[in-house]
């Protein structure tokens, strides 16, 4: 809108997409739209309205929530099979490209879409899934929507939105040994709470953020939603461009040159105003573990389960005692996967720990996409996992949300690299402890929650393999 005024990264993206205004609402152009199995309500609404999909070339379908973690056989549950089938039928009927089960492009939508080069700096990206925030790692404004809004995007390629507030979280310094973007995300939530960013878009900045790989930035933006935010964003830089170049659906040739010129200006101007600012030091972050039933019920590995009366319900659900040490809590199983932590880098981190021994409890590793699976196998990670006794599965949401039949049994305790530890999230009565891939791998080897830094130290001292 106004030129000359310093603007935030978010404002630059938002302003470029405003088609019209009605009261406090802007009508926004939507560049990318992803649909998964849960979109059947939206396709139903579209049918009711009797309208076609306005820009089928800007919507992509991805089967992820219900796909079994063994793709060699169709799901036994007919309702589940129908959900996967219904997505293929709905997308095909409207001329929408679909990454179906068996397609080499299939994966969890927030892993597969960036991988194909669909998530770009400066775009508006939506999907009927709250973790759409993940794509903000590229400097896009990416946010989750409900079924009514999905139908609206299908029919109009636009959305009515109220301009959110904007908050900057600056993290300087260097993350410590075996400490990852997941620990940073959990640390930030521990400091600001699950409501800390409600109504805001969060822009991440600072040297610790710049140092993160694209995978790390995606993990961080993914978890931003757990702090209540509408979206997370990181300004594009060389890391972003290098990651995008050559991806199948990313810009090429003259388009790429034009895009790069545009992306170079996509950053917050000096002096731009934020509604809220926070600063953290990466050196304060260590391995984090959730002990309760909300992502804010989280602490460093050396901490104890809080004793405050307020947390009684969480402690009861989790089967923990007030004041108990977090390190040493016994787990029944381990899940490494989900759109938070199932990319190649996450699997490498898990493998670097799992190669030190054998799993003590059932451990399931679910790659984020078919492409991640292929890359992991090309570098032999699958052998490390199998040698350690872990299960190496096919890509999908799997035990993150337990829709495909992979569930944690009632009362069982799971160390998980996913993003939500809500009651019942991984199955009715399931107890979830969120942590990083390296921490989950350490829990797999020992059968208990343990500081991964003590495990990884073994080979250096000569005591290891």
């Amino acid at each position: 809108m106004t030129t000359g005024q310093p603007r935030t990264l978010f404002a630059k993206v938002w302003d470029a997409h405003v088609i019209g205004t009605d009261g406090d609402q802007n009508l926004l152009w939507i560049d990318r739209h992803f649909v998964h199995e849960g979109s059947f309500h939206a396709f139903g609404k579209l049918k009711e309205s009797g309208r076609p999909v306005r820009h089928p070339e800007l919507t992509f379908g991805v089967a992820d929530h219900y796909v079994p973690s063994d793709h060699s056989a169709p799901p036994k549950d007919t309702e589940v099979a129908n959900m996967i089938d219904l997505l293929t039928r709905n997308t095909t009927a409207h001329g929408i490209d679909i990454f179906a089960m068996g397609d080499s492009r299939q994966g969890i939508v927030h892993v597969a879409a960036p991988e194909q080069g669909l998530s770009l700096p400066g775009l508006t990206i939506v999907c009927g899934d709250s973790h759409t925030a993940t794509h903000g790692a590229f400097g896009a404004f990416a946010f989750g929507i409900g079924a009514s809004e999905v139908a609206h995007v299908l029919a109009t390629q636009t959305l009515w939105q109220k301009r959110p507030k904007i908050m900057r979280i600056t993290v300087d310094g260097v993350l410590g040994e075996m400490t990852s973007a997941k620990d940073l995300a959990l640390y930030i939530i521990s400091r600001i709470g699950t409501g800390g960013a409600t109504g805001h878009v969060v822009e991440y900045d600072g040297s610790a953020i710049r140092a993160l790989s694209m995978e790390g930035r995606m993990t961080l933006c993914n978890m931003t939603i757990e702090a209540g935010a509408r979206a997370g964003m990181v300004a594009p830089d060389e890391t972003t461009v290098a990651w995008l170049e050559g991806r199948p659906l990313a810009p090429k040739g003259a388009d790429l040159d034009a895009a790069k010129a545009f992306w170079a200006k996509l950053r917050t101007d000096a002096g731009a105003a934020f509604d809220k600012e926070m600063r953290f030091d990466a050196a304060d972050v260590g391995p984090m573990v959730t002990w309760g039933t909300s992502p804010e019920e989280v602490a460093g590995i050396a901490a104890h389960v809080p004793v405050a009366e307020d947390f009684q319900a969480s402690r009861d659900y989790m089967g923990l005692e007030a004041g108990q040490e977090i390190a040493g809590i016994e787990v029944d199983q381990v899940f490494i996967g989900s759109c938070t932590n199932s990319r190649l880098q996450d699997l490498r981190e898990a493998a670097s720990v799992l190669k030190l021994g054998k799993v003590a409890v059932p451990t399931m590793i679910v790659p984020g996409s078919a492409a991640v699976k292929k890359m992991a196998e090309a570098e032999g990670l699958n052998r490390i996992f199998r040698d350690a006794g872990a299960q190496w599965r096919d890509s999908g949401c799997s035990m993150c949300v337990a829709m495909n039949g992979d569930a944690v049994a009632p009362g069982k305790r799971c160390a998980s690299t996913s993003n939500r530890n809500f009651p019942g999230r991984q199955g009715r009565g399931a107890r979830t402890h969120l942590m990083s891939p390296a921490m989950a791998a350490a829990a797999a080897l020992t059968g208990r929650i343990v500081d991964v830094r003590t495990i990884s130290a073994k080979p250096d001292t000569g005591a290891g393999q």
Binding site: E57, A147, R247, G424
Partner: protein
């Protein structure tokens, strides 16, 4: 969607913070068609035990036919599933009142005729206490004046963003309304695409990874 102007009915208090959409409707019910009656799935694993028996002291199981949910802070956080709103609406709820309501849930609510109302802590506490004291008494919401009334309390005014209020008051069919602007939208899209052709997905080529 029917216009929402005002509503009178009983309320129930669910004094739990961070009730997320996985609890409002557990994931396993999301594959059901709406005609299955989403009201049955509402807060299912809190209302019923593992054997399917109703949990006697759960607030919803004690209330008769509540249409106001006085929920805890950060209600509706988590997944974007609109099924959470369908479950509340199909159960009979017309308004959710909480100190803080999660963003996507709030957006979904106003598109399904469920009024999301955030109140400051002190007013919220007074209302929750009044309802707890006499659950049978009816309260009222008036969206035209943005007021909540309860017989035991002075009227409480609330703030709701203009876009949501209008959408509810008119029972707006969003898609039809937006379709009237297709001319402007296509003009925008044409010049936008001319300026930034790279925003359209490239066609895949064989050499790419």
């Amino acid at each position: 969607m029917k216009p929402f102007v005002a509503h009178e009915g009983q309320a129930v208090v669910l004094p739990v913070a961070n009730v997320d959409t996985d609890q409002i409707i557990p994931a396993r019910f999301l594959r059901k068609p709406r005609s299955a009656g989403y009201g049955n799935f509402l807060l299912h694993d809190l209302r019923f035990d593992a054997n399917g028996r109703s949990v006697a002291d759960f607030p919803l199981n004690r209330a008769e036919a509540p249409s106001f949910l006085i929920a805890g802070s950060n209600f509706g956080c988590g997944s974007s599933r609109e099924g959470a709103v369908y479950a509340l609406v199909d159960y009979g709820f017309r308004a959710v009142i909480a100190p803080r309501i999660a963003d996507i849930f709030r957006n979904n609510s106003v598109r399904n005729g469920l009024v999301p109302i955030e109140l400051p802590d002190d007013e919220y506490d007074r209302l929750a206490q009044a309802v707890e004291a006499d659950p049978a008494r009816e309260m009222k919401v008036d969206l035209q004046t943005c007021t909540l009334s309860h017989p035991a309390l002075a009227p409480i005014s609330f703030v709701i963003d203009e876009g949501s209020r209008k959408r509810l008051l008119k029972g707006l069919d969003d898609i039809a309304e937006t379709a009237e602007r297709f001319g402007a939208i296509e003009d925008f899209a044409a010049s936008y695409r001319k300026d930034r052709p790279w925003t359209w997905p490239a066609s895949p080529d064989k050499e790419a990874r």
